[in-house]
Symmetry: C2
Subunit: 370 residues, 2 copies
């Protein structure tokens, strides 16, 4: 099957670029001595997770129980759930994975999570590894570093079924700070309380080995922290218009560490006006929550505007020419994670040839329908 | 299964309200003498389409070939594809539905569509009904009313395999004009060229019977047009924060013709700060493309902010109180169609009890994976 035969709109990944991105992150980890448990919330795709593991990642991070279930089912070990869960049913599903031989780990940041998890683990007769989830800046979830964290650690310590393996500190608000130096300064400052909390936990006698941290915006910053660091970045495999814009260590201040491997293939379905044409991909085909818009690949001088559920409008800018009706155009996505979440499959391209079609399997709720 | 057992985030529909909305639209059509071919792009769900047909709709409108395939597969007749398709593969899929006995209709607005469709229909030996798709205002797709439309009609007329059944004129930009009177004035003015084009087609000898038009914002406006009108509105089954805001004929100018039957069920997963809590539904759980935000049901005084792929932040406003950790809260959706598109299933609720679980079957691309 060739690119021209793919029904549009469709999600495409350029395999050469994807593989280069996975290799680049693996090389970074080898060079800096940090570890990698990349986030599957970005791709929700077993084939990509397996490539990340094959390149040296020591596990996979997940944001939902369904993602964790899908990853464990394919035999991936070291599956970390980074999100808080306070629901007994979901906790039981995670414990069930461990009881069936899956190697899972949960980030916990509230005594309710600890209580529910300990109860479920004891009932199932399994040991569960946990990371103490620290709220270093986002105020989104997790426990405050320092004394609140130590108190929660002591509570965890009283449960024989739970083992603290380290801490998690995700600084989401810092991941897109403009300019590498500004981002570096903010992230290193913000992460220090997590470093200190990890060290103190070790002095308290916990087997707390590492700090799980880092986004694709801070992967080359958080690795400098003076503890064992494990990166949980996800977007680097695909990149997007948003991350492309945050600045990096490139010659011109550009963030070009990873290549934009992900696109949405569209078709021009209407071209009857001289100043606008319509493509068949709109708000059901691209993420819309940022100020960024899809960017045409290999066709400069086009401005994309959302124009309904199924359509986008293209206008010429900077002397650009409008494409004709029937023309197929690829667009880089504004934000990769929520765009991938809109699709059931991803066409894995080698040049213009479809080498494989991958199911975005963990997009779905994994429980049976009834 | 009760509401408390549903894993969150989850999409819920209140069956009493859904049924009332379907009945209200059916009553409107009976009263005004217009017809209904409601849009399945809103719900993508066979169970809801069947209820609309049972209430008197004379078919179902669809926005994608996959939606059309799903609707035809369940035995629904009179399936209209409202979007332009200029891809030979997709055209063949539509013709294949007809060849297998499905009753389908396509809106066409460009000679390329006409050519491809006629070729495919002749090759398959079937007759295909079409609507002439008119570009009355949106400049999104379709042919200009008047002479360009007549020229395209004559071209269609030269193909024995194609039969013009009417015209389509969708005025998307008018569907959310604030205030009923302003919306009415704009819509009736904008639609008049479509009415005139339909009448002229009849004088030209085409069997052009009706005008397909209308959104959930103009269903009670376009029905007044002096031709046979068929409404293709979709959102009325669910409603949302956006449509709720546009104003209607209610006593206080409110749009309360239909009830908001659709919600997303969430759980408060973090509540460690006095001024904010986090719920487990973010940009992967709600549409984000409008300025509207999810609105809590039965819990006044909360402001929702998106806070990442899987999370939202709640702040108290107007003296509201924050919910505690573990609390389950339902939210009305900013925009129903793209929110439904994020889910695989919808929990059909009768009060607090799950009466059924419906697959959002036409969300998926219906072609096999390989």
């Amino acid at each position: 099957m060739s690119r021209d035969e793919i029904p549009t709109p469709a999600l495409l990944v350029d395999l050469d670029l994807l593989e280069a991105n996975i290799a680049a992150m693996a090389a970074h980890c080898r060079k800096t001595g940090c570890f990698l448990r990349p986030h599957a919330k970005t791709h929700k795709c077993l084939e990509i997770a397996r490539r990340q593991i094959a390149a040296g990642a020591r596990g996979i991070s997940t944001a939902t129980v369904s993602e964790a279930e899908a990853m464990v089912a394919t035999g991936i070990r070291g599956v970390l759930l980074t999100s808080p869960i306070v629901d007994a049913g979901k906790i039981r599903r995670m414990v069930e994975l461990a009881r069936n031989g899956g190697e899972v780990m949960l980030a916990v940041g509230h005594h309710l999570e600890v209580t529910l998890l300990a109860e479920a683990a004891e009932a199932a007769g399994v040991q569960i590894d946990v990371l103490l989830d620290l709220d270093v800046a986002d105020r989104r979830f997790g426990i405050q570093p320092g004394e609140p964290a130590f108190e929660l650690a002591r509570e965890i310590g009283r449960h024989r079924s739970l083992n603290i393996r380290g801490v998690q500190a995700y600084y989401g608000l810092g991941s897109h700070i403009q300019g590498f130096e500004a981002r570096k300064k903010a992230s290193l400052e913000t992460m220090m309380p997590a470093v200190e909390t990890l060290n103190e936990l070790r002095r308290m006698g916990f087997d707390a080995q590492f700090l799980s941290a880092g986004s694709s915006g801070t992967y080359n910053i958080d690795c400098e922290l003076p503890v064992e660091v494990e990166l949980q970045c996800g977007s680097y495999v695909f990149m997007d218009v948003d991350y492309k814009s945050i600045g990096g260590q490139g010659d011109d201040g550009a963030y070009d560490d990873f290549k934009r491997s992900l696109t949405v293939l569209t078709t021009v379905v209407s071209a009857t006006h001289c100043d606008v044409v319509s493509v068949d991909a709109g708000i059901k085909s691209f993420s819309t929550e940022t100020a960024f818009r899809p960017e045409a690949k290999d066709w400069p001088g086009l401005k994309y505007e959302f124009f309904g559920d199924e359509f986008g409008r293209l206008r010429p800018v900077d002397g650009g020419e409008l494409p004709p009706i029937g023309k197929r155009l690829e667009f880089y996505t504004p934000h990769c994670d929520p765009t991938v979440n809109l699709y059931d499959r991803i066409y894995a391209m080698r040049g213009d040839v479809v080498e494989d079609v991958w199911e975005i399997v963990a997009r779905k709720e994994s429980r049976p329908l009834r």
